[in-house]
């Protein structure tokens, strides 16, 4: 398999008035063509910054080291224009809130056609045809009529379908989906995830699914990277991660998911405490203060990413399931 996106030792920090904020710390990931990867973490874990950096969408206040290689090209070596060239045809992104991502005062049609005419040089008539086809593909009923609607006339789920149609318009090789279903109802969430999975297979596209919910990535990804406080703390195939999680943080995240099997009247397991302050580096494991298994070593030494013989990576001195 060929590598579609390769992150090597990526570090991103922002200058703030409280000092340097280290948002992403030494992240290395590799996504093959046609592969789907889930990036899971809480708010503030750096998962969104990571995906934006991969697309070359970082704010000017950000400092970046390490490399991002997309389809054989190093993103930082490209000019602004060359990066723009990769958007749409190479990489595309869908965002959490489809209402604010769409232009509220433009009809759906022109918003989908824009990429087609600008990037692919299609005529207006061809672009319109393709837009109708795209809307059908994302299962919007009566696509021709939908072209003339404004975003405000559509439901949240329908707006997210329009976002997906826009992202897919120029046949990208890699799709970033940043919390694509967080703003949606549970029933619509299931539909959108199903749709993304089907389209990905149909178009043989790579996908990065960014979410805070392990339940969302379980059925829809090949690999999962769990992030905590800017670091990848566990990285494995989806099957392996759920079968044998090694990192106590992943376990805690898993336990906190509300489930239908939770007995009524019971207390839900929580992760006590909070994420460490990203402007104040800590010497030990970043999860140590919240970890139920933490020992002295965890507070003083920083664990490196360890790789098992089967390629399962984790950042812990005392991984789950290991002989103590």
């Amino acid at each position: 398999m060929t590598s579609m996106l390769k992150l090597e030792n990526l570090e991103i920090s922002f200058a703030t008035n409280r000092g340097s904020l280290h948002a992403v710390k030494g992240v290395s990931l590799d996504i093959d063509a046609g592969e789907s990867i889930g990036i899971v973490g809480e708010s503030g874990s750096g998962k969104t910054v990571l995906s934006r950096a991969s697309m070359g969408l970082l704010a000017p206040t950000a400092t970046r080291t390490g490399t991002v290689t997309f389809d054989g090209k190093e993103i930082s070596s490209l000019s602004r224009e060359e990066v723009r060239e990769t958007w749409g045809t190479g990489m595309a992104m869908i965002f959490q809130d489809p209402m604010t991502a769409l232009n509220p005062v433009r009809r759906i049609g022109p918003q989908i056609m824009e990429g087609l005419t600008v990037r692919l040089g299609m005529s207006k008539a061809d672009a319109r045809k393709r837009a109708i086809e795209l809307l059908g593909r994302v299962r919007i009923p009566d696509p021709e009529q939908a072209l003339n609607k404004f975003p405000g006339q559509l439901s949240g789920g329908m707006r997210q379908r329009v976002m997906i149609a826009i992202a897919l318009a120029c046949n990208p090789k890699l799709l970033f989906a940043d919390e694509p279903t967080t703003a949606l109802d549970v029933t619509v969430q299931a539909q959108i995830l199903q749709l993304l999975s089907e389209l990905r297979k149909e178009l043989n596209m790579s996908m990065v699914l960014v979410t805070h919910d392990l339940g969302v990535v379980a059925g829809h990804t090949d690999k999962i990277a769990v992030m905590y406080a800017g670091e990848v703390v566990e990285y494995a195939t989806t099957k392996d991660l759920f079968a044998r999680m090694r990192m106590p943080y992943t376990e805690a995240l898993m336990k906190s998911i509300p489930r239908l099997s939770t007995p009524s009247g019971s207390r839900l397991p929580v992760i006590e405490g909070r994420l460490p302050d990203p402007t104040k580096p800590e010497p030990g494991c970043l999860f140590a203060s919240r970890c139920p298994y933490a020992q002295e070593k965890c507070h003083t030494q920083h664990p490196d990413l360890t790789t098992d013989s089967d390629g399962h990576q984790y950042r812990c001195f005392f991984p789950l399931g290991a002989a103590q």
Binding site: S43, L260, L268
Partner: protein, 332 residues
Amino acid sequence: MTTTFDGNTAHLRPSEQTLLQIKDLVVEFDLGGGRVVKAVSNVSLDLVEGETLSIVGESGCGKSTLGKAILQLPAPTSGSIVFQGTDITKLSKKDLRNVRPAMQMIFQDPVSSLDPRFPVSRAVEEPLKIWNRGNEMERSAKVDELLNSVGLDPALVRDRRPYEFSGGQCQRISIARALALEPKLLICDEPVSALDVSVQAQILNLLQDMKEAYGLTLIFISHDLAVVKAVSTRIMVMYLGKVCEIATPDELYSNPKHHYTSALVGSVPVPDPERKISATLLEGEPPSPLDPPSGCRFRTRCPAATELCATEEPMLRLAADGHYVACHHPRD
């Protein structure tokens, strides 16, 4: 056909046992041009003191409108809301105002429901000030007590403003503010859907603790059946402004009678990659409430719909002990 009043009240308990009893509540919005949306149509429900009733349904099913209508925000179009023995829809403005402290609400987006310019202490103190409770020192002590009880350190948070806090912490502040006047009834409108999974559990546990500590009765509005499982005494499922099913959580999940409930249960994401995608995944989206389907409102998406469903509206009836369903062809 018209809805008969008695048809949808089978699930109500004797009124002398209840803290809140709502009968035949209708909320309509006039869109102008003769178009009227019936957001809540003929809903009845009741709450016994100390209970938690969860109202579950998709966007647009009327669950938030129902929650707000109970607080007369705005007042419902018709129907009765008997709270502690008084029908509050019939009260004068002044009398209604005196009832309000006993009924409070917390909202979905904790950051925007706090005034960004108010420090935390002022936000939590405001209800006490408006109602002239205690002098300045007593109020300040009460604010500290409230902040402590929601798990925030008063010394650290008192003088800070909402933007300095995470979503979960802002929700804690909102809860402290809602509890300031020691309400009987707390309506929580999607209180955790804007929060991370790991923080959701903290807030759900906190609400359970507060319920015990302050003797609250809760109405919990959510679109996610998994979220309400642990906290509810009863769950009511709504679709397009109507009640589909009411049962205790264990009964509802193990034995959903309504096809809509069963689809909702099937949509909950399960953290297990081996699990097959549910066959009961709902197609499409709810029809427009401007022009709801005749008969059973769910029939356009229901796998078991027959001709009867198009002509006759199903009424709530007893399916099992404490389990009521509005369906002509309930699941086995």
